[in-house]
Symmetry: C2
Subunit: 371 residues, 2 copies
Amino acid sequence: MHVVIVGGGVIGLSTAWRALERGLEVTVVDPAPGSEASHASAGMLPPANELILEQEDLLRLCLSSRERYPAFVAGLEAVSGRSVGFRRDGVLDVAFDQDGLAALEEVRKLEESLGIAIERLDPGECLAHEPALAPTVTGGLLAPDDGAIDPREMTPALLAAIDAHGGLLLRERAIEVIMEGDRAAGVRLAGGASVRGDKIVLAAGCWTHGIGGLPPGVVPEIRPVKGQILRLRSAEPYLRRTTRAVAGGSAVYLVPRSNGELVVGATYEERGYDTTVTAGGVCELLDKARKALPGVGALELAEAGVGLRPAAPDDLPVLGATAVPGLLLVTGHSRIGVQLTPVTADLMAGLLADDLVAGLAEPFAPTRFAG
Amino acid sequence: MHVVIVGGGVIGLSTAWRALERGLEVTVVDPAPGSEASHASAGMLPPANELILEQEDLLRLCLSSRERYPAFVAGLEAVSGRSVGFRRDGVLDVAFDQDGLAALEEVRKLEESLGIAIERLDPGECLAHEPALAPTVTGGLLAPDDGAIDPREMTPALLAAIDAHGGLLLRERAIEVIMEGDRAAGVRLAGGASVRGDKIVLAAGCWTHGIGGLPPGVVPEIRPVKGQILRLRSAEPYLRRTTRAVAGGSAVYLVPRSNGELVVGATYEERGYDTTVTAGGVCELLDKARKALPGVGALELAEAGVGLRPAAPDDLPVLGATAVPGLLLVTGHSRIGVQLTPVTADLMAGLLADDLVAGLAEPFAPTRFAG
């Protein structure tokens, strides 16, 4: 069976890799794999977050992905021969006021009830863990088993894995699905050529519903949610581990890499497909970062970028078969695409190879928007 | 007579052009003309500023340059066939507190006594001139005859003018002055070749004293003063005219271009030759800009750059003959190189062509550092 996957972000590529492992033939179509939201992403892998904790189905998906991550990375690094910068040296959450501290305590109780390792830290302990923190820190949480991954390493590793398994990558843009009767049978490329397939997977992030050729209503509108994100740089890592800081109701995350990069993210803006780095966005992130880390102003501002997170009408992932035979969707992962990559790829590969719909995936069926 | 000029910033290039106009043969040596401090510069041309008003010799130099600017630009645009973005539609100074207002009033009195057109504005008048200003503006000054130039247009125009007059540009790095007896007779290039000349002019900004081959003490140490500077962008110009804002003892300048670029400058940092764009530098400039222009956060942050201003031990320009026959210097213009370009080029051309030392130039002789 030949699967055509439109979209080469971490979701499309990992689905391709896992499908290839199951013995399927796979072609990925993307003019520039890993260049959009996956390129911008910080790759933070926290145990959960307060938004997810309130949504049971999504929480189950997240926890399953968290369990799968070590094996996913081990497999990917083995087949690709590349490191993906996976770290499980802890995620630190810190608060700078009493409200922030109270919110962290709610998170701690919930996470503890889920069996997640989580430790409460007093201000002195926070500073002992991260001496660069502002002494105004009021307390924190440490999730010792969690961490981060580097999506900019993950994309090339996934491309290498696809290549190693004999998968095909077409660096072209898909413009429409080719229908045969009521069935999806391929995609037409911008250059005029077409690719036939037994199953067609649209994994094109916030551009998914823009792919033509389909009856109305099959693909929900996936709106872009703009995230501005910065990369600072110092000779040595400025932080020891992935850190999130909350103050005055707003949060910033700070993800260090071993090469001295410190990712500071991210804004959350509804501005359509605008990808402008703005003075205000950069200011917002730097102001928040400096409140948590007063010395961070001395670091190089190496990059300011934008990613467009794909968000479905209900802000939940969209994954599985559509009403059109042969057509599947996998998109809508919003802020947590990298976090959900292992479970998403496994669920999609199961669907493609065995038509298996896992209970985990049911709440995220694309058909929920129909009617 | 053949003049070799080391350094292709606006000072070196304008000196070359004016010397060519006097009939001299000229070779400019620079691996990347106009790429350093001249590239970073905002090109603001205010009537004066409070630092200069206190230094009589420098003030005379500035006022002379201001008088020469229109003819300098007319000549340059005519010979090069290019626009240099010269504007004389006013410079607006605004204050956001009482101290700032008092400082502006001192400037106004001094400028008025010098015959400079200068108008006092109340807050309502400031807002009428620039509706984008914060309504917290406490008052301002308008210098209606002043403005700005675009150094990124000036450099190519100067290169075209040099070419039109038959001047030569060597895109190489000069490493040392070649001496013949006690006399400077040429420069050696990094590639191993050399260029002979009757007069050698070092115009290499903060790299001037790093050029070898000379007896100690001939070239004073010209230290780099780091300036971080931003370029914002909008579809239409966000400001009508060049604006400087003072609040809490610190200033920011905001120089609009007709293409929608808004230059926001600049930090003033003693950090050696470091050219890192830092989180703190960008933050400082954006915070100041937003205090003056609350809506500026919506603009694109198109560029963050660094220039190294050349500063002599006494922070004054260095121009004229040295103790070494045949060797001249022109550097040390610190923050006001673009402002001082026309007068500097004229004085240097006079020196080169006629050995004429104008009274204006005397206080800036390189020999003042000797002994």
